[in-house]
Amino acid sequence: MKDNGNGRAKKKVNEIGLSRSDYKGRPTTLCQGCGHNSISSQIMAACYDLSIQPENVIKISGIGCSSKSPTYFMSRSHGFNAVHGRMPSIATGASIANRSLKTIGVSGDGDTASIGIGQFIHLMRRNVPMVYIIENNGVYGLTKGQFSATADQGQKLKKMGVNPFMPIDLCMEALIANCGFVARSFAGDPKQVKELLKSALNFQGTAVLDIISPCVTFNNRDESTKSYSWGIEHEYPLHDVTWVPSYDEIEMEIEPGEIVEVELHNKSRLVLKKLEHNHDASDRLAAMQLLEETCCAEILATGLIYLNLNQETFQSVENLVDKPLARLQQDQLRPAKEALEKVMDDFR
C-alpha cells in the first residue's frame, strides 16, 4: 500500500474507486475448508476486478449450504434466499423487472438437480441473463449427508450406504437445454474459477458454471469424484482461459494456432489457450462428446465447454422499454381515461 501523504495507508481501489473490502460479505458459517467459501472469494475477486458496482448486483439462491453462501459475499448487493430449487423463477422475475441489474445465482446439486431441475431447464430455455453457479458436491450437507442426484453410481456414504443410481450431469443438461455458456470448474482451481466467472459475468445470456466444490464433512473421501484429492488428481483443464477487457491488448506469449480468441457482446474477449486437448467450444455436439468421454474415463474436464453468442436473450424477446420496468411510474403505467372509455365500448 502506498502512503497518501496523510500518514494513512491508501487502500488499493478498482476503476470505480472501491476497495476489496467493499465487496466483502458477512462471515461465513459454512464448514472450514468448504469449497463454497473458495468460490465466494472468487466471486468477490471477479466483481472487484471487473469494477462491478455492488449495488447493481442481485445475489439469489435457493435452499442448501451453497444457497446460504450469497450472504458471505458482497453485502452491498441485495440478496434473496428463496425456496428450494426455485431460484431460477426469482431470477426470471427479478431480471425482467429490472434489466439493468446483474444477476448472480448460487445453487447446489441438491437445489438444482432435484426439485430445481425443471426451473433450471426453463431458465436456460428462456436465456435469462444471469450467472448460474452450481456448487456441486454430490451430497446434502444441511440435512446431514444424504445422496444428491449428482452423486456417483456406487458411491458410499456413511449413513446412506451405496448409491445405486446414475448421476445427472448438469453440464450435459445445460447443453441439451441450449444454454449458450456452459463451463465446469473445480473449487480447488481458484484461478480458473475466477477467469470463468469474469467471462460469465460478461456474457449476455444464461451462463452456467458447474463447479465441483467438495464437502469436507460428508463427501471428501479420496474415491469420491467430488473430493479435493480426486479433483486435484483428475482435473484436466481443456485450455488456459483468460478474460480480457475490451481495451486491453493481449499480453501473452502467443504461439500461432494455439490461441482461440472470442469477442463477447460487450467487446471484451475470452482468450482460450490450447493445452494438450483440442476442444472446440463452439461445437455443441463435440461438447456433449467430451462430457461423455471424460466421464467414462474418470477425467474431470474443466474450462469452457460450450459457448454460443447467437441466442436472443429473454429481455430482447420481450421487447422491453429501456428503463427498468420496476422504475416506471404512474404516468407510464396507467393508461388514459379516454382509452378506458374506448375499451368499454367493446362491451356495449
Partner: protein, 616 residues
Amino acid sequence: MSKSQVKQKEESDAMESQRPIVNDFTLVVATVNGSGSQTSNLALIRAFFRMGIPVCGKNLFPSNIQGLPTWYTIRVNAKGYTANKLKADLLVAMNMATFRDDLKDLKQGGVCFYDDRLAEPADRPDIIFYPIPIRDLVHEADPPKQLREYVANMAYVGVLTEILEIDIEEIRSALDTHFGGREKSIALNMKMIELAASWARDNLPKRDPYRVERMPRDEELLLVDGNTAAALGAIYGGVTVASWYPITPASSLAETLEYYLPHLRSDPETGKATYAVIQAEDELAAIGMAVGAGWVGARAMTSTSGPGISLMSEFTGLAFFAEIPIVIWDVQRMGPSTGLPTRTSQGDVLTLRFLSHGDTLHTILIPAAPHECFEFGWRAFDLAERFQTPVFVLSDLDLGMNQWVSKPFQYPEVDMDRGKVLSAQDLEKLGDYGRYRDVDGDGIAPRTLPGTDHPLAAFFTRGTGHDERAIYSENAQDWDANIERLWRKLDNVRDALPAPVVQRMGDAEVGIIAFGSTDPAIIEAREYLSGEGLATDYLRIRAIPFSKTVEDFIQEHEVVYVIEMNTAGQMHQLLQLEWPALATKLVSLTKNNGVPLDADWTFEAVRNAEEQRHEG
C-alpha cells in the same frame, strides 16, 4: 311477489298461453362442445342486452375440446334478476345424446325448439314443440363446406329471432361486434339467420307466450365477464410483470392481459413494452417470477385456480414473511384433478386465508361483479405495495367466465400507492437503514429496491430468521419483535379494505351474509322471502380480514344465514373464528354442486331454516 305466488303465476301463465310473457324467461341451448355454438349464444345475449333487457349468460361446459354436451343458459328478466335458473322456460335442443334429459329440466308447459332429426318424445304433451329442419336450412344457405356445422348453429338464432321477436338488427350488430366488423363473416352468418327466420315466419305459427320487447337502455352498462374486467383493472393498476400458467377458469384473465396490453401499455415513441407477460412452466414458477419481480419493485401478479393455488403455497408464505408485494388472482373451480374443473365453486376461502406453512394470514379481496373485478384489479396493487404483502383476489368460474351485465368500470380516482420505498437520497439523509425496522410505528417498515445506488441500500431477503436489519438471526427475541410488528401491520390492513355492502329491509331480525358471485341469487331470493313476509337484511363481504361492520351486522340480528358455495361452510367457519361469542347466531347454508347459485334454492334454504328455527 312471494315465491309461491310466483310459482302459481308461472303455472297459470303456461296454461293460458295466450297471455304474453315479456322479457322474463330462461332459455337453455343444449349443444355439443366444440360445435361453434358460442358465437350463436353470444349473438343472442348481446342482442338482448342491446335491446335494454337485463340478461345473463352462463356456460355450463365440460372439460373437453370436442364432443361432450354443453349447455348455455340465457336468462332475460325485466326486473333485473340475473341469477342462474335451473328450470328453463325455453330449450333449444341440438344434442341428440342429451335430448331426453334436457327435456326433464324444461319446466311444465315449456317450449322446445329442436333439430328435426331428433325424435319428438310422446310423453311430454305439456311442451310446445317447434321442430327446425336444420339440415335443409343449412343446405339452402349453402355455406362453405368446412363452416357448415358452425353456421348450422345460426339456424336456431334465426328461428328464435322470429318467434321471440328479437330485433334482427341487434343480432346483426352483435355479430358485427363479434367479428370485429369483418363483413364476410357477418354476411355468411346473417344469411343463415335470415333464411331461418323467414322459414319460421312461413312455417311455425306462434303457439307460446314468450317474447322480448325493447326496454330503455342504460348506455353506460357493459356486457362482460369478470376475467376481462380483472385484466383491465390490473392494466389500469399498472401491472408490469404478470406470470401465469394455463388453467381453467383463470386462463382468460392472462390472455386478456396479453390482448389489451400491447394497445394500452406500449411506449408511444418506441412501441416497446412497459410490461412483461410470461407463460411460466408451471404455477411454482409463475409465482416465483411474480415474487422476484415484486421484490425488485415491479407491480407483479399471477392468476390461477385452486390447483395452482396449492402449488403456490410455499412461495406465498415466503412472500408473506419476507414482506414482498404480489397480487394473486384465484378464479375458483371445483376440487382437484379431473371431473369438475370447469364448474364453479367457492371452496378456496379457508385455503387462501391461511395458505402456506407456519402462521400465515392473508389479505383477500372478493369481487361480486365485473365492475368490482376491475376496481379490485387495480386496488390490489396499491394494497400489496402499501402493506408489502401478498394480496389475493377471490373470483370464481361463474364470475370470471360468464357474461354479466355490469356497471361501467370507474377510472381509478386516486394516485397509485407505491408504498414506503426509500431512494438513495432518502438513505443519504437517514444515514442508517434497517429493512425491518418500524420507524413509523405502523408496522410497515420501508423497503429499498435492488439497484438503489447507495451503500446502505442493500439487505438480504429470507423467510424467517432475520433481525430488523435483515441480518440472519436465530435469536428468539429478534423473531418475537418481528412477528409482533408483522401482525400489527396486518391488523391495519383491515381498515384499508373495501367495506362490506349492506342492504336492509326495515328492521329485519334475519340477516344474510354472502360474498362473490352468489350476489344476484341472494338479491332475488330476498325478494321472494319478503313476499312471504320474511324481511331480511343482507351483508356482502368484500374483503378479509373482516370489517367491524360485519361484527355489528351479526350483533344486530337474531340469526344470520351465511350462504356459500362450498360444503364445509368456510366463510361461516372464518366468521365463527373471528367472533366466537357470536358463533351461535350464525347458521351455515351451503350448496356445492358446480352450478351457479340460484334464487329458488336460496329461498327454500332460508325459509326451511327459518321454519326450523321457529319450531326449535
